[in-house]
Symmetry: C2
Subunit: 209 residues, 2 copies
Amino acid sequence: MPRTTAYHHGDLRAACLRAARELLEEDGSAALSMRAVARRAGVSPTAPYRHFPEREALVSAVAAEGYRELAEHLGAAHPAPGTPDELAAVAVAYVRFALDHPALFRAMFAEPCVPGTPDNSERAAAIAAITEYVRGIVRRAFPAADPDALWTAVWALVHGLAFLHLDGKLDTSTPDAVAEQVRTAVLALLTATGGVSLANVTREGGFAR
Amino acid sequence: MPRTTAYHHGDLRAACLRAARELLEEDGSAALSMRAVARRAGVSPTAPYRHFPEREALVSAVAAEGYRELAEHLGAAHPAPGTPDELAAVAVAYVRFALDHPALFRAMFAEPCVPGTPDNSERAAAIAAITEYVRGIVRRAFPAADPDALWTAVWALVHGLAFLHLDGKLDTSTPDAVAEQVRTAVLALLTATGGVSLANVTREGGFAR
DNA sequence: ACTAGAATGTGTGCACCGCTCACATTAGAC
DNA sequence: GTCTAATGTGAGCGGTGCACACATTCTAGT
């Protein structure tokens, strides 16, 4: 681990990530430039290139951080949701995260993982992690349903709700209004797609109350 | 209407929109620069500024065009959907449009209408138009359901599916696979939220066959 | 038909950007 | 202690958004 000197920063990579995060939250993704990050980190304009070969790599790293935080946030909403209500709570947390970190959330989904750039590994891993997490939730909650189909539908619904709220298409005046909207939509989908399998689980002495 | 001369272009605004569209489809949103548009239109670098006060205004105009085309595309899928099946067909068309014009679709939803910029009027109008269109469809198809809630859920689901497909999270190998995925998800949501009211309409001698 | 003024296009220029390259400084392995 | 790789600096190139002064052309009022 390098030590901090007048010349060497000490942990420039972390400082760049922090600066990038701040710029993103303060002035949006347009303000997230390599040079601005360098300025904020108190370093020469090209120093960040030692840690991120190109701008896209930096935003990918920030996005990966966002994915990890999102996963953590969802886990805090409910560690192991089993009922539709608990799953709906996780969905509400998803939308809330998007509204609390709009620029970060947009950056996370602005561009797909481009095959040409090699530095998407961290980002891809973070995405895979959260994907598997959500998928596991659905699988645990509705073991008899087709997990792929149901998981896909649930994520799409929640993701779409997040974007519609972000774009100001829906009422975001109060957090409660948002939560209620998300809750009802998710519960509707779950009762439709997972209703049968949920009943099965209940009959077999499963976890549903 | 100005005539074309050696000096005056004739209809530079339309030429800029066309050039911007082409750049977007060819090389993605990063390639959509004012100067590149000017080059492609065969005009000096600052000429486009006579018609679009800033870059954001240009992409807003392109996005508005995209919204109009999307509305047209949905209308072609089914002019006045009344049954869940027909509505699902419109949903499939929505996702198809996103996959056929990925960069345009992303541009349409990349940034919300920023209050500071005054040139979002056209864009806002196009959005309002398509919103009212989808809303009208749902209202007509399910008059007894809460139109706002149902419309919101349907749009969110479809929009989320479009983005997940765009981001490579779902199987897009064949158009049929995409269509089937969208169909099942939408039908599931509709049977949950609108099932009762649809049955009512049918009993009263409505449009449902 | 003439002419004033509005519309529209040109050219220059500034600050910023991503990124490359040669070079300076330092940390850590031997 | 020395050698090398890691890390930071600085100059510089081409591109970009945008502001400004200027040129050309269209159009309306007479």
